[in-house]
Symmetry: C2
DNA sequence: CCATATTGTGTATAGTGTACACAAATATAG
DNA sequence: CTATATTTGTGTACACTATACACAATATGG
């Protein structure tokens, strides 16, 4: 058998959410190929690190991001996807709270920037395909797993959650029914604190109760919007 | 940077269904490591073939199976998963109609055999984990994608479909409601033919209409059990 | 204090899911 | 040939869930 000449990389589509806008974290490539073009952060896997570790390391190195939630998306292995030769990449989806750290470019990245998902620049490699797959996954998944909370502050007013869902699903949601449904799932704790931003009645803060969620999940109760 | 020493393989969990029994196709390994032990069929990816091609080739080589439906499952990359060194594997799920071909062992396999999924032998590598992931995927997916038909003959009596679902979901289904729901989805053509096996009233044959399914899917109508 | 903005809340109706039983058409045993 | 067993095919009533919808409460800003 001929020696295998396939290299393995990981890439991470990192989503963030702030004030009604979903963004994705991209880097500007410092080196060829695609030097000066935007790309999903990622890089080659080291011999003795797991795929998840590789993703977290590359993200830390290139962007300064510390990931909050990470899941494997899909493995892209088209023969011609990388001009340097055969590179198979395991893509991940990450969720972060952008306000909890500062991004900075380093190593392979000359710039790091948040792009709102409907104003994306041209991307390197097959990264557009990966990004679209990631968006589809995120949209599908928030309807049956409580991952939306990973994008919000730990304590959030209900309207934030509602705005997140309308944004992600791209369609209006009935405010009363949505609230009824989510609260009916019994995975949110209502706090005593209130918060007011600008004018309007102050909102109660809520917090996702992960422990209760796992308990309910074990009992077979499913999260569904 | 140190040279990357990671090898890439593909594996396929192939499911078949016959007469109320879900089986999975396993091979007995001819060579070390795990010589003489059962394993999921698979092997190393060639430099110039896509991942899907690699799966199909390995399956053909080792078992003689021609796959009917194939989807990527998950990529397993634990550092210690292969005693030969670092091997990352992209696992796939395949569905076949076992009665449409004859299996035979060759190349790396000394034996090929169908195992019913509740009587599995001890497996090599992390293949048990992969297999369980695949079973979970199959169970979940038949409830929201019409993949069950890939396991049945092209023309089938309704009771076959019903039995497949009760088997896969592991719980009884109300016969009338199930029929109502499936036929209401409007993706089955009722044929004029009848078939009788043993005693009992002969059954009408049905056929999955893929074209209509894709049409409906495009219109936003979703398959759901 | 008045206008504006945002949060918080209940009910009626339509639609969907679920439980349930018996007749029709064949094979088989006697 | 007849009786029995076996499998298919079908409808309705009820419970539950999803959906549509409007107004009062509490703040801010001029």
């Amino acid at each position: 058998m001929v020696e295998q000449k396939i290299r393995l990389s990981v890439d991470a589509v990192v989503f963030g959410y702030e004030e009604g806008v979903i963004s994705v974290l991209l880097i500007k490539r410092k080196y060829d190929p695609f030097k000066g073009k935007w790309a999903i952060p990622g890089g080659f896997v080291l011999n003795n690190e797991s795929l998840e570790t590789a993703v977290e390391r590359e993200l830390q190195e290139e962007t300064g991001v510390k990931i909050n939630y990470l899941e494997q998306l899909y493995t892209f292995g088209d023969v011609e996807r990388d001009p340097r030769g055969r590179v198979v990449t395991v893509a991940y989806v990450g969720l972060v709270r952008p306000n909890t750290f500062k991004i900075f470019a380093s190593t392979d990245a000359s710039q790091v920037q948040w792009f709102t998902i409907d104003k994306l620049p041209e991307l390197s490699f097959d990264h557009q395909k990966i990004l679209h797959t990631a968006i589809a996954r995120l949209q599908a998944k928030i309807t049956y797993e409580p991952i939306g909370f990973e994008l919000l502050d730990k304590k959030f007013p209900f309207s934030d959650l509602e705005k997140l869902y309308t944004t992600l699903l791209g369609r209006p949601i009935d405010r009363r029914n949505f609230r009824k449904k989510i609260l009916g799932l019994n995975v949110l704790d209502e706090l005593d604190k209130k918060v007011s931003k600008g004018s309007g009645r102050p909102a109660n803060l809520f917090q996702f109760n992960q422990k209760r969620y796992f308990q309910l999940k074990k009992e077979g109760i499913i999260f569904e919007i």
